[in-house]
Symmetry: D2
Subunit: 222 residues, 4 copies
């Protein structure tokens, strides 16, 4: 098992407001990773090759990916490159929040990623740890609460996860499979639900911890 630092590529479509995420959601993820000694590179849709070049992907042990309103701009070629690095090279893949409708997430799982509903009213999210022995749950305790959330509600159209690490609930009792693991080809995939471009929630300590744990798990260090 490699003792080299993990190399992460943190990607965004860059539609999140600067007032909320000054360095982008990808910058917020990268900051959490760097604090834990992970080498994090940032990239975005407007970069050459959409920030998902063969070279950038080849350097990455794990790809963090946030997107919301510009899924359609990501080309089939970019999507195919992401899939190839997951399946054939074992690059980890960590789509965040609204990336459930991104082309790479849909293509690697084969499902729509559709959800039954959502609500944008600055409510709390309760995240419960269902599999306390999973590496992504390390240090998270039984639960954490995030101060702001865009609610998502089940059913969530995904293949049955290999492991559901976390389940969330919201104001009216809605529930969601918030932290889901799959293996595809040589690669590991972790979907993480929290986050919305208008809430500073991805700076919260539990989310930063999840990013670090997910980077380690998805790059097969744990």
């Amino acid at each position: 098992m490699s003792q080299e630092p993990i190399k992460a590529l943190c990607w965004t479509e860059r539609s999140e407001p600067e007032s909320v995420y000054p360095d982008g959601i990808n910058g917020a993820v990268a900051d959490a990773l760097r604090e834990a000694g992970i080498e994090a590179e940032t990239a975005q849709l407007s970069d050459p090759d959409q920030g998902l070049s063969e070279e950038a992907l080849a350097r990455a042990d794990v790809l963090f990916y946030w997107a919301h309103s510009r899924h359609g701009q990501v080309t089939d070629d970019s999507t195919a490159r992401v899939l190839k690095h997951i399946l054939a090279r074992g690059m980890g893949f960590v789509p965040i929040h609204s990336a459930l409708h991104s082309k790479p997430f849909r293509a690697i799982l084969g499902t729509t990623g559709n959800i039954a509903g959502w609500r944008e009213e600055e409510e709390e999210e309760h995240v419960y740890i269902v599999e306390p022995s999973h590496p992504i749950a390390e240090g998270l305790g039984q639960k954490f609460t995030l101060p702001e959330a865009e609610m998502y509600v089940e059913p969530f159209d995904i293949p049955t996860p290999d492991c559901i690490v976390m389940i969330s609930s919201f104001r009216e009792g809605e529930v969601f499979r918030t932290g889901c693991c799959w293996e595809r080809g040589l690669g590991r995939i972790f979907y993480f639900r929290p986050g919305h471009e208008t809430y500073r929630v991805l700076f919260e300590e539990p989310c930063r911890k999840v990013f670090v744990n997910a980077a380690r798990w998805a790059s097969r260090r744990v």
Copy 2:
């Protein structure tokens, strides 16, 4: 596939108050099943062979099982008979609520069935359907709400279910994997969380529908 009526054995330790469940929780289950054309027999701990005789089990396509405070009185022999009929003959098994600590549930899954906590304060339970295409979800829509519940909270010490059909949430945001499926040997197992001996909740229409759907699925008719 058999067109014979399904035969269910509905079992209780019989500690539920008559004021709440006049015919026992097993009677409430049997009533729901009969309304759907299922042949339901009732049995209890004080019957000969603890109500789990070789003959009674041999007649059953599916065993519904509720218990709470008398798990320790069920003998290892009774437990072994239940397991044999599940594994070797394909009898379905539907443990309800506090039966997560019963000997047959623990023995067939190999785990403790422990939960992180509970609360008995007559609160609402929101039950969301996570796998709408599963036979046990038939006719349940996206969710149902039960007026009274003893709260259970994750983590719940069980093997990862083959399928999680339903997830519940409670007043303070607690979540629980409420409807869980496993296959063991030739048999199918469905755990259903709702119900408490002091709440009339198992008479609620959605619970009655779940019992019927579970009887069909666990006896391999769907």
Copy 3:
């Protein structure tokens, strides 16, 4: 649960030699299904809308799909229609043998379907039943042997199946996960390995039985 006859659409790219499969591999499948009272329609790549029109798919409870050398001719639109009917309407999908490299199989699972090797030397295939309680295993006993096979060998790049019903072995000891089940969206998928366009093996009784069982399972009648 519907008591209407199951409606199957049996599709082929039509490159199989007439000398071996006079009515095509899809004709051989349809014949087995009809004998069991299933309504089977046949279609092929050269038909309007590639034989996968919106109307034809909408009529189908389950799609049997064989292809080998013309995967690239199936359009992305045809593939998208197949996926939509699986995911959103619950149409069953039964890809056969070399259809592991077809666009719909790859797209619905998200993996390459690649195999480590193959050999075309008219050898025997031993098919062992691993999950005897699965509806697709009904009537098959512990094993069956097919007189001719193109060998496929693991690793097979697929998501971990929900259930592996059958495993095959070949002359030099090679093994393969031959009968694999997945659920995606509202639909059920069954991959069946045997068959090669130059071997009459899909006329063998055990294969005919598998087709019938798979039609029932994938259309959610069992």
Copy 4:
């Protein structure tokens, strides 16, 4: 993640002939582990507390367990201690070959561990790697062949494994799920099929590699 050496407890009922396994099968396992820097302790049925004392188990990150003809002599108390350390403390558990009928294996999985048949004729076993990205597959390539084997054949009565790492085939084409992973409570379980007390096969290099990989995986270092 701990950087301390892994501590393994290697246990046997001690019925294997000294002429084949001079230091026992547990000694053969311990030797392979030590070569890789793992601290391996040996124990056997005739030791105090059957070699499965609270203290010995508490020291172990992972328990290797071989038994064949004396399963019945292992007490329910010993079995309960093993289960407690797996479920509640996360001790790994690696039952080998005929340990599929041991009390701890049956109790932790809830199934009989029965197999459809076996044959003791010094034949070859072909072991194919099905999940090449799994930590237990590291360094094993696509397959390995063992010179002698007692054949086991499917169906094998176990819960569907979380991951099947290896599948074996035998002389007459029989197949078996040879390397199977499950998680239960906080613990990881790996069943490994090869080995028979009259064949020196557990000294073979690929088996020694599997022991080391399994020790690392089951003790959560990878």
